[in-house]
Point group: C2
Chain length 331, copies 2
């Protein structure tokens, strides 16, 4: 047992920093629990009571995703407290488009070098977003991986499980003439950051801290704003059966994501002039001289979710900022 022998800590993995992080976020995680959660923080697996009441035929809906290179904006700003909400709300929306209510969520946080403070900011943010969406942050993993991540970089992954009653699975039958109602995004959400960073900072020469008149805020503030959850806005309309399909506008943009729910024989006819994208998108476009086709394929352009409905009025009347952006037309 040489005193000069190697230790795990000496190899770049500090278990005590992991434990410190867990202590910091433990109470926030517990606050997301509900009566379905049967396990405590730190058990091998999260236990969730699956004796669902009120479902004739429960179907579990699950999704896994990451926040992408938005982490680099957070790192540059030193503000990690929105990234947890980013990944939770992204995942909530991903299963919402199949009609599901979220049940529980698991998060993965990895870094080249672990900072308990940073990990705790992310996990606390995730826990609060879980609570707002009525789901439990039931499990997670913190990994310290020297040499795999670039110096100072982190990655954040989330996995969500929700439930929908089988007869209510979306999409339903989309009809010719159905209205496409766009729900406003709050910026880039979690897509297109590699392109946005290159356009704004490498080509355009802007700085994150630049205050831009058209934005009314700094570029950093516009870019770091968390992904929005559409659950609360859409829940009443799901219950009424009014919604034929939903498309979460993520990588690929409006057309690629809509095309996943518009059946053969119909096409989404979108009027890109029917809404005004938030000014951050204009800034990115002009800074990088980005072709409009690339903008449409990389960004949500101000529309974070699209509902396909026979009548747009109930949504337009109840969801602030929503706008009809097109129709499902016969080909």
């Amino acid at each position: 047992m040489s005193e000069k022998g190697l230790t795990y800590r000496g190899a770049g993995v500090d278990i005590s920093e992991q434990n410190k992080a867990i202590e910091l976020f433990k109470s926030a995680v517990k606050s997301s629990y509900n009566q379905h959660v049967l396990s405590d923080v730190g058990s091998f697996g999260g236990l969730f009571d699956a004796a669902f009441a009120g479902y004739s035929h429960p179907v579990l809906v699950s999704s896994i995703d990451g926040v992408g290179t938005k982490t680099k904006i957070a790192h540059a700003l030193g503000r990690y407290d929105g990234l947890g909400a980013d990944i939770v709300n992204h995942c909530v929306n991903d299963i919402l488009v199949q009609g599901a209510e979220p049940l529980f969520f698991l998060d993965y946080f990895a870094a080249s070098k672990l900072s308990a403070q940073v990990a705790a900011q992310v996990v606390e943010s995730a826990a609060h977003a879980c609570k707002q969406n009525g789901c439990a942050l039931i499990g997670g993993e913190i990994a310290e991986m020297p040499g795999v991540y670039a110096e100072g970089e982190i990655d954040i992954v989330g996995c969500i499980v929700g439930v929908v009653d089988k007869p209510n699975i979306l999409p339903r039958e989309v009809q010719p003439g159905d209205a496409l109602v766009g729900l406003p995004s709050e910026g880039l959400h979690t897509n297109g950051y590699s392109l946005a960073r290159k356009a704004l900072f490498e080509v355009g020469g802007f700085d994150l801290h630049d205050s831009i008149g058209t934005l009314g805020e700094t570029i950093g503030d516009a870019l770091i704003r968390p992904h929005k959850s559409y659950l609360a806005d859409l829940r009443p309309h799901l219950a009424s059966g009014a919604i034929h399909a939903l498309a979460h506008i993520t990588g690929g943009g409006i057309e690629a994501n809509l095309s996943r729910v518009i059946p053969a024989g119909l096409r989404a006819q979108i009027d890109f002039e029917s809404w005004t994208p938030p000014p951050i998108f204009d800034l990115i476009r002009s800074a990088g001289s980005i072709p409009e086709s690339e903008m449409r394929a990389a960004f949500n352009l101000g529309i974070g979710m699209i509902a396909v409905v026979s009548s747009p009025d109930p949504l337009l009347g109840s969801i602030p900022g929503s706008v009809q952006i097109g129709v499902a037309a016969a080909e």
Copy 2:
């Protein structure tokens, strides 16, 4: 629309490479499906029929984890075809210790620069391991994150959901005098790679391709062997009710993981001389002059799972290589 304008691909994100990867692994993923899977490859969320037959009170058990820096060994060897099995089997074991059968699994693959071939090797490996464990690879995400990952590096994360009937949740009551039966590991599994690499390659000066007499193989072969799933070996003993508790030996080693299931008033009394660790552990220890306490805290030392049982004979008689390594003694 400048021809010189920036594109998503120009910013380091190549959607076509992602689509190529999906084409490559699609059929393997589909082969893991069973009658519970209601969605197809590429839907927003994975749909899994939750009308469980034969459960009086189903409880969902979930876990998320990564393979850690084992990816660096795979990268150096150019062999990625075990990493999917690594993460699936790791996750299967994590929920097995609470008595759960796996239902479905989701994978996340991220890289600094995406190679469709590498991603497909990992996902196909995960799909085959899922099939072997009777669970469906129901969802996944491929992320290309230039600048977040170090050049050529990847990360692999998995999330699993299983089910257990509430009366069968483990751990049950562990009794004084219960036997601790160790089940053999197949090497490091997915823990301790940062320490092992530092000891073997930086301090010891070994090369991955070195053939070592005591190993009977190259160091690379010994290090890349996938994590073992203990589901098939333990399933019969779970059904009989013979198992009081299970501990999956991951980060923290034998003592830290056992302590999570040994109740207050009892302690795990382990005879570290009662089995012979695989030779790779001796090589790591001597190469890095690693203190025994560090070895025990970082590695499984040849024991990948420990079953706590009143009578060891049924396990010892049916699971090759299993050995009684101690008892749960009164303090």
